[in-house]
Amino acid sequence: MHDVPDNFDINLTEISKIEGSASLEVKIRNKKIEDLKFSISEWKRFYTQAIQGKPAVAVPQLVARICGTCSNAHLLCSIKTVEKALGIIPSSQTMLLRRLIYNGLIIRDHALHLYIFALPDLYNKNSILDFDENDPLQKQLLEDTFEIKEVGNRLSKIVGGRSVHAPYPTIGGFLAYPHIQELKNLRDTLIAVRPKIFRLIEIFAKSSFSLSLPNIIFNGLSSQDYSFLTGQLVSSQGNILPEERMSEHVEAVVIPYSHARGFTYKGSTMMVGALARINLYKKSLHAKTKADTKMYLDLFPSYNLFHNNLAQALEILHVIDTSSEIIDGISTITSEEKIPVHPKQSVGVGVIEAPRGTLYHKYEIDDNGIVQKGEIIVPTGQNQVLMEKSIHILLESLLKKDTPKEQIILEVEKLIRAFDPCMSCASHFLKVKWS
């Protein structure tokens, strides 16, 4: 028998193995949840105010700094936003190279979360540092961790000049171009790591971690080639919207104790990210990915929040398969003429699928090309309401089973990590007036 008190508090001020700072406060009285607050405790840097008065062409490299992890997602989303505002249409070569940079990000970012943050939970370890080098599988996973992250880094570096805050991509095209031979050389490495990704997929598919919430609405930017960078907004309710209209459908929710605002979809609890994407449009995954992972893809659509990790692993395989196909299809990389930028009074909206879900940038630009106003909606904000709700549901079930406090804390942290939240992104802006 467990000796579990009727009354206790949980105060997690610094949740480990996530991007940035989040905290959780829970008050249990008579074995019931009296109060539960999940909050993002990362301090704001006010990017949406900071871009006011800056030339639109300078904004992408600034907003990339919102996040060191998914910087290239903000960078490419921002470039797209300015291009939309100014009516600039990038070339097909530019779009392919951007996809390669982005695929590199997806590999590295998902790998960071899966190997370094999520995997230790599956092996009952505190950290990847505690993995046993004498255990063949654990040793192999350690090697995989660094190899897979490195492949993602190299892809982004070759095409973007750097894996974080890539200097080559710019409005209308590229400032410098990758060497085709370097790209061709990477192609075999991409193919060679596929077995490692199957190993990862299998591990997360076999995991017994489970928490299913039936009434979530999944949202994502869907394209026929699952590109992350283009498409239209789709929801699990069947709605299809052009990306420009995203802000009409997600509503900001004030969470007074959090440094970030939450969002709902037409008043309902919503989720974005890998799980949402695979649930909504797994049919658009690369043909090779689909053929080789059919038994796992059959698990989707899934309402098990922990399947977000499995979905991330499947997406790594998809971007590896699309990248090697893109590289095969490139015979030359030409130094294209720069598309001229003509400032005009305009509004631009750019939406992409960041690694953690739908990312929205909107800028209002004046005649001189100066940003007057900006808005940014990030994935973790959109998931924040669901995160708190799911923690509540998990806690209730654990309390019914007389789970000891230490175990409760561990289980809750596992759930929070399953979302792969990014607090640095979530907290940069809050436009609500506090009273």
Binding site: E14, S16, K17, W43, K44, R45, F46, Y47, Q49, A50, Q52, G53, L62, R65, G68, I116, P120, N126, S127, I128, L129, D130, R162, V164, H165, H259, E413, L430, K431, K433, W434
Partner: protein
């Protein structure tokens, strides 16, 4: 032979200590925007023999300190948030508050510079700075 012992690394694992432990080297990222961060930075300084500022925000404060340069209109938009969550008046770089032994500048930080500092200290006998 094991040369590095990760004393605190929230990004890698759940801390088993309730208090900050003594460290040979402390790597600190980011600028200081609140009193709680300032208190924590001072504690880290107290517990570490050498303190290394990592990346542009820690070394020069930017771009995290962009609110320091806001015009009155921009400032008005954020004022209520600054008050509610008790932000500092100005965002500070680490060396505004504590003695910084080494800097790794850049955004992202310069990887070679980071490795050079690590190699410089990895085999040395470090001592706490004079109070």
């Amino acid at each position: 032979m094991k040369k590095i012992d990760f004393v605190h690394a929230k990004i890698l694992r759940k801390d088993s200590y309730s208090e900050l432990q003594p460290m040979d080297l402390a790597f600190v990222e980011g600028a200081i925007t609140s009193d709680t961060q300032e208190v924590k930075l001072k504690k880290i300084r107290e517990k570490s023999k050498k303190l290394v500022a990592i990346g542009a925000c820690a070394v020069i404060g930017s771009p995290s300190n962009q609110r320091n340069f806001f015009n009155p209109k921009q400032h008005e938009q954020i004022q209520s948030i600054l008050e509610k969550f008790k932000y500092k008046d100005k965002v500070l770089k680490l060396s505004d508050i504590v003695v910084v032994d080494e800097n790794v500048p850049g955004c992202p930080m310069d990887e070679v510079g980071f490795l050079n500092i690590l190699n410089k200290y990895i085999n040395s006998q470090l001592v706490y700075p004079e109070p």
